[in-house]
């Protein structure tokens, strides 16, 4: 029993340590997100060949990334200062911010569920996802340098 308690508390500690710096964590997730979308966009544009299996794998990776995006853990109060481009509107309108993130997750899930069979289908999905990126970056991000 004692071992179990120790194990659980260690796990909990490891969990909190993973989120020790929410700014770095959310930046890492956004970087990964951008990289995956970038790869998909290249296929959608015709720069890279379309391979249905590879595309689906990428979309699934995008979904896994989006599901890891826990807004409460990544954007705690006070994480608006320092080396971040997170805009003040995130904390002024947390519900709106979460709604945009939820729409993004829903669009990614929809793309996975309707795995694209050709470039045209992928293009439409990347378009919808890209527009979600823009919606969030329009209001909730402030470039400072």
């Amino acid at each position: 029993m004692r071992k179990l308690v120790i194990a659980i508390s260690m796990l909990a500690f490891a969990g909190s340590a993973a989120f020790a710096d929410p700014i770095l964590d959310r930046q890492a997730l956004m970087k990964e997100r951008g990289k995956i979308v970038g790869g998909l966009a290249k296929v959608a544009k015709g720069d890279d060949p379309f391979d249905a299996t590879a595309v689906l794998t990428q979309l699934q990776a995008l979904q896994a990334n989006a599901e890891k995006f826990d807004v409460d853990a990544l954007f705690p109060k006070g994480s608006d200062t320092g080396d971040t481009t997170a805009g003040p509107k995130i904390w002024e309108d947390m519900a709106g911010f979460k709604a945009v993130e939820d729409k993004y997750l829903a669009d990614v899930k929809a793309a996975v569920a309707a795995a694209p069979a050709d470039v045209g289908a992928l293009k439409a999905q990347v378009g919808a996802i890209g527009s979600d990126c823009g919606t969030c970056h329009q209001g909730y991000r402030v470039k400072k340098s």
Binding site: G38, G82, G130, C133, H137, Q138, K144
Partner: protein, 315 residues
Amino acid sequence: MAWLKKLVGVALVLGGVGAAAGWLLSAPVRLDTTVLAQLGPGDAAKGKRIFYAGGCTSCHAKPGSQGDARLQLVGGLELKTPFGTFVPPNISQDPKDGIGAWSVEDLANAMLKGVSPSGQHFYPAFPYASYARMKPSDIADLYAFLKTLPAVAGKAPDNSLVFPFNIRRGIGMWKLLYLSDQPVIPLPAGTPDPVMAGRYLVEGPGHCGECHTPRDFAGGTKKGEWLAGAVAAEGSGVVPNITSGGGGFGNWSQADIANYLETGFTPEFDSVGGAMVDVQRNMAELTPDDRAAIAAYLKAVPPHPNGYPTRKPAS
């Protein structure tokens, strides 16, 4: 004491002359007939391109509008700047609240001279300092396109500006300093056509310099730091340097720029953000040739280091 009286008299006369000169110099100036003669009949299909190049909907649609709502030009966005809050008006076809009763000459005077039909100065938050470089025939095309858009009733609230910016007549002086129909960047004869076309789109209808160029104390763009990036007029952010100078986007290829304007993705697959989101939506409506021209011009403008101060290290 006769000398004192004389001195006072001279001072009064000089002051009066100065005031009269200021009054005359600051008077709104309309277009002359030779320019108006170039307007032509106007073509709505061509005007659609100008409408998107000019970004009209970004400021004049209701904030947050999507899809067809972006064509309802009812106004009402609030631009909160150090000068006060500017509110773009209703420019829908409503004859009372919008500009449905305007003639094509009225639109040309507004866009090329910053003068309203009743003869008042518009504030240069309406970017006529850029639009002044547009061809009159493009204004006529835009007019024809605007006529195809819906009339939407409803007046937007007035601007609320701080003194002395709330004195409209003062804009006349500002215009003497900053209003010109001449290109910003001189291009030598033999410059490739796309660069020339891009210059027109960027410096004229696209009015990119209004946000991407730093401003001097009087609110005019610093032509010597053209497109070098600037502290944003609204909020706490910055607008990026879009020259190839240090801090700029010299590592973007021409194709990268055109692709960004079309899709909203940077070469690193970051996405477009801030006020540029609406701009990019407009740019996506242009032809590939137009976007390529804009990119060609941006690669050709003189490089400058960032036109805004480096961020202070986090405390």
